[in-house]
Subunit: 570 residues, 2 copies
């Protein structure tokens, strides 16, 4: 490709709404343009890089035995109602009515469609196992689209769905996808690592996310360098000990705490109750039902865990008015020792199990209670792991201290079990003549997000640093004179023809611009290898070859093509 024949509108400055480096570079390098909030056009170079990511995914999916299909973007609500997700995923679903008044959902994923297909087309164990995937446009009604392609209203996703006869078969399919994902991200040049994950709205009972470490990532991951444990903070646990039991006064004692409504205030003079001896009582609304949550004063509630443990689809803190209506007091003085209505469930974090000598609110504004023994004095409905782990806590597996880092989620694999196949009737006739629901898994890769993650991980002050596998062009030939009869341009055309014939993706910067401008643009777009052709070095029988992150090498003209081929390992 000649530079002047395509469109590479590089920018000196990124628009002010681009917050993170990869978003800025996508715009500055002329790879994408914003049409509206959360909606982008891929320009020629951005699309080339995207197609390369897609092709890597396609090759690895095919290699893993998955069959490519293409499912519709317009999905009938009936199948979403059958799966139960019409309600649980409602907040991210784009809904559209056609002229006949019929409603459609725009596909965010396709569990319902593929399971319906399997219900119709797969009838016998002899047709199983099967795995179907597609690389297609997806839609998500993001309230706050941000970070460019990271969180967009429409995006390209690879989604795959496996169907097996047994749980072991499903685990094998899961493992195959897990391994394929590992290869895919490695081939994209990404340092991605798998972490245990919550299954959320998708459902299922076993799940990993593939994470790319990045300061700007929207996820937090807890991990152990010693044993390799890694989990999304939404799911992570630690080996932190339960609250130690100790001597305490024999009876609960109510005491006045005028104006004290925070853990911190109660830990100071004159009360001096350490946070780890306080029970924090939170009133929540889970799927429109009031519940109480007890957590240690120095811990934080993890709402994802709360949803996972209680099965609630939506949770929110109760309003002060709801607190008063439930417990007779306002936040800051709440407790679960007295006045808890029998209809209200009390969920307590496991770290509090057996704790005594605790202080908690008295359900009377301006009063607390001390000498509380949680198992003696509070009627706990169920004990759950509800707290968020912190850096430095001991690993649950090996007791070494956990670390926490931010990361970008690029892939997610789920073992679904029979959740969808039962609801949508995707059954098969087994060898023994009985009819059983298929055991399913589902597997997603954010394709456009992966592309941006490659840039978020690979860049420097001058621009993008592409891996060879994803670069829009691998080699940029830069003649410093572009008149058709100049020696530089003629040599450039010759290299262009030779490298192209060898299967290398080459762009020739035929713009009549100053060398500085051309070099800067080539670094910004980040082509892995640049060949500069200046009249002076050509007179010496040499050309300049510069890897994007390496030093300039002067190479004899006749050896230039071979040198480039060696650099890109053709």
């Amino acid at each position: 490709m000649k530079w002047t024949q395509t469109l590479i509108p590089t920018l000196r400055e990124a628009p002010s709404d681009a917050e993170i480096v990869s978003h800025k570079l996508l715009l500055r390098a002329g790879l994408i343009r914003k049409l509206a909030g959360g909606v982008y056009t891929f320009l020629p170079l951005g699309l080339r890089a995207l197609r390369k990511v897609e092709q890597i995914i396609r090759e690895e999916m095919d290699r893993a035995g998955a069959n490519e299909v293409l499912m519709p973007a317009l999905q009938p609500p009936e199948i979403w109602e059958a799966s139960g997700r019409a309600e649980t995923a409602s907040n991210v679903l784009f809904k559209v009515k056609d002229s006949s008044g019929r409603q459609w959902f725009l596909s965010p994923t396709a569990e319902e469609v593929i399971t319906t297909l399997a219900a119709n087309e797969i009838n016998s164990y002899r047709q199983l196992p099967k795995n179907f995937y597609q690389i297609s446009l997806k839609f998500r009604d993001e309230i706050r689209p941000r970070f460019g392609l990271m969180r967009a209203k429409e995006f390209i996703m690879k989604d795959a769905y496996s169907f097996d006869t047994t749980d072991e078969g499903a685990m094998a399919a899961y493992k195959k996808m897990y391994d394929a994902y590992t290869r895919i991200f490695a081939r994209c040049g990404l340092k991605a690592f798998p972490v245990e994950a919550d299954t959320g709205v998708i459902g299922g009972n076993y799940s990993h996310e593939f994470m790319v470490p990045a300061e700007t990532g929207e996820n937090e991951v807890a991990f152990c360098e010693a044993c390799g444990y890694a989990a999304n903070i939404e799911k992570a646990t630690s080996g932190i000990p339960k609250t130690a039991a100790r001597d305490m006064g024999p009876a609960i004692e109510k005491f006045a705490t005028p104006g004290v409504v925070t853990i911190e205030a109660l830990s100071k003079d004159p009360y001096k109750v350490p946070a780890n001896r306080q029970i924090k009582t939170l009133v929540y609304v889970a799927d429109s039902k009031i519940i109480l949550i007890l957590i240690r004063g120095d811990d934080q509630l993890n709402e994802t865990k709360l949803m996972a443990r209680t099965g609630a689809v939506a949770v929110r803190p109760a309003t002060p008015e709801e607190c008063v209506a439930t417990l007779g007091a306002r936040p800051g003085s709440l407790g679960a020792v007295v006045n808890v209505p029998a209809s209200v469930s009390v969920f307590a974090d496991g770290r509090l199990q057996g704790a005594n000598d605790m202080t908690t609110g008295a359900n009377e504004d301006g009063f607390h209670m001390k000498n509380v023994s949680i198992e003696r004095d509070i009627k706990v409905t169920a004990w759950f792991d509800l707290r968020t782990v912190s850096a430095g806590e001991p690993c649950a597996k090996c007791a070494k201290p956990l670390k926490i880092r931010r990361a970008i989620e690029v892939g997610h694999v789920f073992k679904l079990g029979t959740k969808y196949s039962e609801k949508l009737n995707a059954t098969f006739l087994d060898m023994d003549g009985s009819r059983k629901p298929s055991v399913m898994g589902c597997y997603g890769i954010g394709v456009t997000r992966t592309l941006q993650a490659v840039i978020e991980q690979g860049n420097d002050k001058d621009g993008i640093i592409w891996p060879l596998s994803v670069a829009p062009y691998q080699v940029c030939i830069t003649p410093l004179a572009v008149a058709p009869d100049s020696q530089a341009m003629q040599m450039a055309e010759k290299f262009y023809a030779e490298l192209t014939a060898r299967g290398v993706d080459v762009i020739l910067d035929d713009r009549d611009e100053r060398p500085g401008v051309k070099f800067k643009d080539s670094e910004l777009v980040g082509f892995p290898i640049r060949i500069a052709l200046g009249e002076k070095s050509l007179l010496n029988g040499e050309v300049e070859i510069k890897p994007r992150t390496g030093a300039v090498q002067f190479v004899k003209i006749e050896e230039a093509v071979d040198s480039v081929l060696k650099l890109i390992c053709v």
Copy 2:
């Protein structure tokens, strides 16, 4: 690919809602499945064929110098309001509101998006000419989706948009696309031919459609075998003579025609006014304005021409009540000689120009007028070509009789001029320092429809007849025994490996089914070449090679691979 590893759910009978042969075969051969009305899933084989069509289009677009991009499906209404199409295309636009209440249109085409992009990124004549294309999902709110992929609610379209500095440049871009389209359809094995076309809602002043002849096509094309003239019936003209002037009585005469409300009734006893001596007066509502249309009694009004000539976006026949309100009479007795309100335009078909001795309604129920000279007695606002041509009329270019055939529209090229660039401000600084709007063209191919047209054109009683270029697999190897240690299966695996290594797309039918079932399925899916491996012929050192539409050839085992390669011209 092994047959048992993929999903090819062939059917003996097509579902009853499949009306045309290509739709039936898409379903019976297991290429697609219906999810809901007008919405289909591509199964593995259907997707393979679709990708081959896409790749042919991509190669020819690239060869013609177009740059591939990818524009969003979600489009902001503001740019459609700027172009004027928010109103004119409203009836086919899917409209969706996001959770913030903002409205989006689902892309049926992308003139507005690409012109907005050009407005932002193209600033100088030095950046022109440019042509951008995408192959992407499109949406159309079809009230009556039908014929499978032919008229679906979502479909894949290739759309391209050219930008030039001059009208001549735009014509050259148009010619390049016209030539690329000719190559694309030829490479897909389609007998497609270009016809002159109306520009419709897209706009512009010059347009061709590419048509595939088919009895089931939704278009009619008038064409001349002698000189090559061809046009969509919506646009076609002929050399049919004007109505001959002749002697007539001197004055208009009103006469009673009780109960006569059709052209035909008036042509019979006792009135005997031939249809070609009657003026048909039609009352229409064009964009909510009442207009009159005069057309000869033996001609038919062409509504597309009416819209094109008057610039109206929507036209419909007036209701009987509207006729009475306008002219004082009901349909059957309408005319334009008397009682036409001054505010009502009268558009007459050119074939009536100079006609006299005509009969028309008297605007009084049960009465007509004779001895009408149209130019003397009727105030015609404008003369237009408004009639639909019929088979047998003389060609306007060479006077030979026109023929009419049905056809499927697979492509459409438009010279747009500056309609969009002016409205969306896509201007460039020209060499002379002045700012001018780009001169545009747009070019569409219905990719999914093209795939179905290939099947509509290529089939017989046994199934699909694919061209080699689009077939999901070129060769089907059919061992008649599939035990891993059978000679047939071992030879099949050997051929599979050898042909695959030579770049041939091969499927191996490893199903444990009777030969008859396997042969029938292979004919139904329509693989161009089948290699059958039976124990008996293998004992003779031979295999059976059968082209889909040719006779069985017995070929020596050692020559089989070469024979196949020769058949597919590798």
